[in-house]
């Protein structure tokens, strides 16, 4: 019995893994196991021997159980240690390639602007891209033969309509559709007959803004524009300046410049050595435009702005050439993973 006891204890100690240990456990302490047999055999012994034999058998059983538990704990600890050691884990090994879609960078910038302005209570509107001369020019205080029409370089359609040269026609359209107070933005596609080069496109994207209410002022315009540019260009410390600009549909009219983001104002190629980048024509809505929209300029005032979305997108992402925006060059498109 002692010999066999030692044999069993050795076998337990030698068990290499949990499966082997389970087999040994089963062979000893299982229902049909050797030790269980021994325990059962006690009852067939003479009565006088029973207590001692019973005690011995029980003790053996407890001893083996303890050895099994100890060995199991040891094997589990070993295996955990092995698992944690992770010998061939390579922190530099990448995961499988992920295919991701993209939004066009102008869309991404536009979405952010729309979100900002709708949070300020602006309604997001659109208008026709093929426009009438009336909404594109006359209603905006640009009569026929006005020199400002030169600057516009209009694409005319054969039927006498035109491709809108700015998003501003939607100003009067919106005034006619809703009554003041008005807070409107109109991002959209515009067209001007220009030769395409690194900084000019005949198809461009603009975001019009219009606010009409009682007592809207230049001070409100400055605040709204500064807020917008700080958000979209992600610069809390953005420096801007407001200077005179001439557009027939505003009076007074302004150009809003931002301190050049590339040179910080020292002067570089992008800012044409001036230290400032012209980013946003704006102004107080001309009384004639309010009238064209059926609004009494004595009762209401307003401001309007027209942001060049390509310009803002180029500044935000550091894109040097406006021609990248159009067409299917994936090498460009897939760089902009922000949605």
């Amino acid at each position: 019995m002692d010999n066999r006891r030692q044999e069993w204890l050795d076998a337990i100690a030698a068990a290499g893994d949990e499966a082997e240990l389970r087999r040994i456990d089963h062979g000893l302490l299982g229902k049909q196991g050797v030790v269980q047999e021994l325990v059962r055999g006690v009852s067939s012994l003479p009565a006088a021997e029973r207590p001692a034999a019973g005690k011995a058998a029980n003790q053996l059983k407890l001893e083996l159980q303890a050895a099994l538990d100890a060995r199991r704990a040891h094997l589990q600890a070993e295996s955990l240690t092995r698992e944690l050691a992770a010998p061939d884990f390579d922190p530099t090994e990448p995961g499988p390639a992920l295919t991701q879609g993209t939004l066009h960078p102008i869309t991404a910038v536009q979405n952010e602007l729309v979100e900002l302005f709708t949070s300020l209570g602006f309604t997001w509107q659109d208008g026709p891209e093929i426009e009438s001369e009336h909404y594109n020019f006359e209603a905006l205080n640009i009569p026929a033969d006005h020199p400002a029409r030169d600057v516009q370089d209009t694409f005319w359609l054969q039927d006498g309509t035109l491709l809108r040269t700015h998003t501003s026609p939607v100003q009067v359209r919106t005034m006619r559709r809703f009554r003041p107070p008005l807070r409107v933005i109109v991002p959209g596609r515009c067209f001007r007959q220009e030769t395409v080069d690194a900084s000019h496109e005949h198809t461009f994207f603009q975001m019009e803004g219009l606010v009409v209410d009682r007592a809207v002022s230049t001070a409100n315009l400055i605040h709204t524009m500064k807020t917008c540019l700080r958000v979209i260009l992600r610069r809390e410390d953005l420096e801007v300046r407001l200077r005179p600009g001439f557009f027939p549909f505003v009076e007074p009219g302004f150009e809003l410049d931002v301190r050049c983001l590339l040179c910080g104002g020292a002067g570089c190629k992008v800012c044409k050595q001036s230290g400032w980048i012209e980013i946003l024509p704006c102004g107080m809505v001309h009384p004639n435009v309010l009238r064209a929209g059926g609004i009494d300029p004595e009762e209401y005032t307003g401001f309007a702005f027209g942001m060049g979305l390509q310009r803002v997108t180029m500044l935000r992402y550091g894109i040097p050439d406006i021609r990248y925006f159009m067409g299917g060059d994936l090498r460009f498109l897939r760089q902009f993973v922000e949605v």
């Binding site: 295919t99 991701q100 879609g101 993209t102 939004l103 066009h104 869309t107 729309v114 300020l120 209570g121 997001w124 509107q125 659109d126 026709p128 891209e129 093929i130 026929a144 033969d145 020199p147 400002a148 600057v151 694409f155 005319w156 054969q158 039927d159 309509t161 107070p181 807070r183 596609r189 067209f191 007959q193 606010v211 007592a215 002022s217 230049t218 001070a219 409100n220 400055i222 709204t224 300046r241 407001l242 200077r243 005179p244 600009g245 001439f246 009076e251 007074p252 302004f254 044409k272 107080m284 001309h286 009384p287 925006f325 159009m326 299917g328 060059d329 994936l330 090498r331 897939r334 949605v339």
Partner: protein, 795 residues
């Protein structure tokens, strides 16, 4: 336009202002200065030399060998090629180590064996003019060695003004206007122009007649005698050169000088070439003339002419005629100074493609008072610069134009309200008065009289005056203030919001890339996709003749972009959100119908094929609440010839057709050099919204487990999944919780002409757990009814 700071200094003291300060002052209050160009900068350091000796170069006929005293050290030996170099002259010397304005560095050289220690300069070499006929000879009393800056300071900076920022300011098309602005900004005095000239009451005259007073509100003319077309004085030539105006002769230069000073174009005719009375009239049909640039111009009745003796002698306000221009021997002038109707000049100039300095100014609506001012200025300067020249007769001014200064009210309340900042009365008054407005205080604010040079176009209403105050105060000095108002949710445009959401989801869920394409489509593309014959909106002045049509649909542009994209990736899905234009349908304003579409195209195999696009699009639409179905696409082949007729389905919502998804027509694929199996889809957002979105609905969770049953139906090819699914639904009755196709098997082990549609049918009941019996009953029913769709239950 170019503005010379040296020129401005004739009228306002800017000596303490750096060019950058002047640029910033103008930019912030008046007009955008785009650049500062240095002119003759560095010349002030050069020294005056005295030509001590001047002899022939021993080995070159055309060169002279000179010694020049430059004030210090030994006289320099300099080889000079100019024909006019001579002993005793004072000249400008550039010495070894110094640089010419064009960047040429002067070195000690040997010219034909003779050492030259510098250069005696011509005006062109100094960048002062285009004159290269000889060296610049200075006054004899200059001490050798003195710097040019001490005796003849020439350095200048030229401001490049953005023309579009002064389109509305006729008064800013000359230096005097900018000087007035700077005087107002800096609070300085503006020098008056010379005194008016006294014209004789009698003498030589050409009678004037204005036939069309609307087109010509004012026309002044005077005959001048004793004139000589000599060389203009240096100061004038240099100023003209600095702003890019070539010097011709005194008479021509004077008209240009006055134009660049006051913004008023004039025309000097050779009096001898004018046949008689001068008449301003419209051209007659069939009339023509040859302009100064020797071009024959066909005229139209809308063109305005200056005629003499019945024949055109100038295209009014644009360009003079060839026959009557100033010649070297001209000794008598007829000087014109007029005001023409802006739009008339503009129309003619645009039609003829003839933009001149003159027409550009008349287009701005000039002040008729300026026409008179300019004549006096011209004649005054001519008298100073051309001894003997004088008016030969009266100054004729038949229009008898009189200016009454308009009064515009400026209410304190409007000023405060529009600027959002209160500027005190003294400041407001000071600003307006420095700009030469008349200011009278009233109960409500101010009554402001407008000077003539601001009244022709620019200042008409109160808001114009608010601008004057604001810009001079500087908008930057207005503290910002947030908008205030009622807090209301903004009106939402479902179409725009849907477009934005779909684009975002296509990028996120389908891993698609958004592209932007032009709305103009090349004829080649329209032909390739087969819609060239459909009505298109056509651009009359396109970027290129073959790219003049506006797209009806977005998809062809996406297909074109797909070709580009496939060069950088083997598999890709592109989409574009944009509009198609349908000119055959018009809205109330007569504008073509615009359809907002989201178009997709994909290529590159599994995941980028029709099945993937179909599920992807359906999934994305479900997220926006559109539980779309797919049906046969009927009768769109004319409008959509690029779709594969046998492999395209309609996307429907109820009875509304909202788009399609399918494969590209193989013939179009061939034309566009795209691979076979390109998948495409199009969504019409307005149709989707018309059909309506529905919100997600909660369905109670099953209390008893569901039981999935796999069913494989062997069917003849051509059998539709939909039929089989319906069969399965019927067979299962109310126990059916879902029918889903998980595989279509074609090929090995199946009889020819058949396929196996493998479904998982989920069965369940609300009141009990199903047993094997339920499944058996269901399968038995399927087996029994399979033949209804020509199917056979497998296994």
């Amino acid at each position: 336009m170019k503005i010379s700071i040296r020129w401005l200094q004739r009228y306002v003291d800017l000596s303490d202002q750096r060019p950058e300060q002047i640029r910033d002052a103008l930019t912030m209050s008046t007009a955008e200065v785009e650049a500062i160009h240095p002119f003759a900068v560095g010349l002030d350091e050069l020294v005056v030399g005295h030509v001590l000796t001047c002899g022939r170069h021993p080995d070159a006929d055309k060169l002279s060998l000179t010694t020049v005293d430059v004030g210090q050290g030994e006289p320099l030996q300099i080889v000079c090629g100019a024909p006019n170099v001579a002993q005793g002259q004072r000249v400008v010397v550039i010495q070894v180590g110094q640089e010419l304005p064009d960047g040429t560095k002067i070195k000690k050289t040997k010219i034909r064996g003779a050492v030259s220690m510098g250069m005696i300069c011509s005006e062109r070499e100094l960048g002062l003019s285009e004159d290269h006929d000889g060296i610049l000879v200075l006054d004899k009393d200059y001490t050798p060695g003195i710097t040019l800056g001490r005796v003849r300071p020439l350095a200048d900076h030229v401001l490049e003004i953005d023309n579009k920022s002064i389109n509305h300011r006729p008064d800013l098309w000359g230096h005097y206007g900018f000087a007035r602005e700077l005087a107002a900004i800096l609070g300085r005095e503006l020098q008056p122009l010379g005194a008016p000239v006294a014209f004789p009451n009698d003498g030589a005259r050409l009678d004037l007649r204005i036939e069309d007073a609307d087109a010509c509100p004012r026309y002044l003319g005077v005959c001048l005698s004793g004139v000589k077309a000599t060389r203009s004085p240096d100061w004038m030539r240099y100023l003209l050169h600095a702003v890019g105006q070539r010097s011709i002769n005194l008479l021509v230069d004077l008209t240009n000088f006055v134009m660049l000073e006051l913004g008023q174009p004039m025309h000097a005719f050779d009096r001898r070439r004018l046949a008689g009375d001068v008449v301003v009239r419209r051209a007659r049909a069939g009339e023509g003339m040859v302009t100064l640039d020797e071009q024959k111009r066909e005229l139209e009745p809308s063109d305005l002419l200056i005629t003499s003796g019945g024949a055109p002698v100038a295209l009014a306000g644009i360009m003079g005629g060839l026959g009557s221009m100033v010649e070297p021997d001209t000794n008598e002038l007829f000087l014109e100074s007029a005001t023409f109707h802006a739009a008339t000049i503009r129309r003619t100039s645009t039609r003829l493609g003839l933009r001149t300095d003159s027409s550009a100014r008349f287009e701005k609506t000039l002040d008729p008072a300026g026409a008179e001012l300019a004549v006096h200025r011209f004649v005054g300067l001519l008298g100073e610069l051309c001894p003997g020249a004088a008016p030969a007769g009266p100054l004729l001014d038949p229009a008898a134009w009189r200016f009454t200064a308009p009064e515009v009210r400026l209410r304190r309340s409007r000023l405060d309200l529009k600027l959002g900042h209160v500027i005190d009365d003294t400041t407001v008054r000071g600003i307006l008065e420095r700009l030469e407005f008349g200011v009278r205080t009233t109960d409500e604010g101010f009554a402001v009289t407008v000077p003539s040079f601001r009244a022709s176009k620019d200042i008409a209403i109160e808001d114009d005056l608010i601008e004057e105050v604001g810009r001079m105060f500087r908008y930057d000095n207005i503290p910002e203030a947030p908008l205030v108002g009622a807090v209301l949710p903004p009106h939402r445009e479902p179409e725009l919001i849907l477009a934005r959401d779909l684009c975002r989801m296509l990028a996120l869920e389908l891993h698609a890339h958004e592209v932007y394409n032009y709305s103009f489509v090349p004829d080649r593309l329209l032909e390739a996709v087969g819609v060239a014959a459909l009505p298109h909106s056509v651009v009359a002045n396109p970027v290129a003749p073959e790219v003049c049509r506006m797209r009806r649909h977005v998809l062809p542009s996406v297909l074109q972009a797909l070709g580009t994209a496939l060069r950088s990736a083997p598999a890709v899905c592109l989409f574009e959100h944009g509009k198609g234009y349908h000119p055959e349908v018009r809205d109330a304003d007569g504008l073509p119908h615009e359809v907002r579409e989201v178009a997709l195209a994909a290529a590159g195999g599994p995941g980028f094929d029709y099945p993937a696009l179909r599920s992807g699009v359906a999934g994305v639409l479900r997220r926006s609440g559109f539980a779309v179905a797919f049906d046969e696409l009927l009768g769109r082949s004319d409008e959509l010839p690029w779709i594969h007729p046998g492999k395209t389905v309609a996307i429907t919502l109820g009875a509304t057709l909202c788009g399609y998804v399918g494969e590209l027509h193989p013939q179009v694929a061939h034309q566009l050099e795209l691979p076979r199996g390109v998948a495409l889809a199009n969504l019409d957002l307005r149709q989707l919204l018309r059909a309506g979105a529905s919100a997600c609905r909660f369905a109670d969770l099953p209390r008893f487990p569901a039981q999935p049953v796999d069913v494989a139906l062997l069917v003849p090819q051509g059998t539709r999944v939909k039929q089989c699914a319906e069969l399965l639904r019927h067979a299962g009755g109310k126990l059916v919780r879902g029918v889903e196709l998980f595989e279509v098997y074609r090929g090995e082990g199946l009889p020819a002409g058949t396929k196996s549609l493998n479904f998982t049918v989920t069965l369940g009941a609300d009141d009990r757990t199903l047993t094997g019996k339920d499944e058996e009953k269901f399968l038995a029913k399927v087996r029994e009814r399979a033949s209804e769709v020509g199917a056979e239950l497998r296994g």
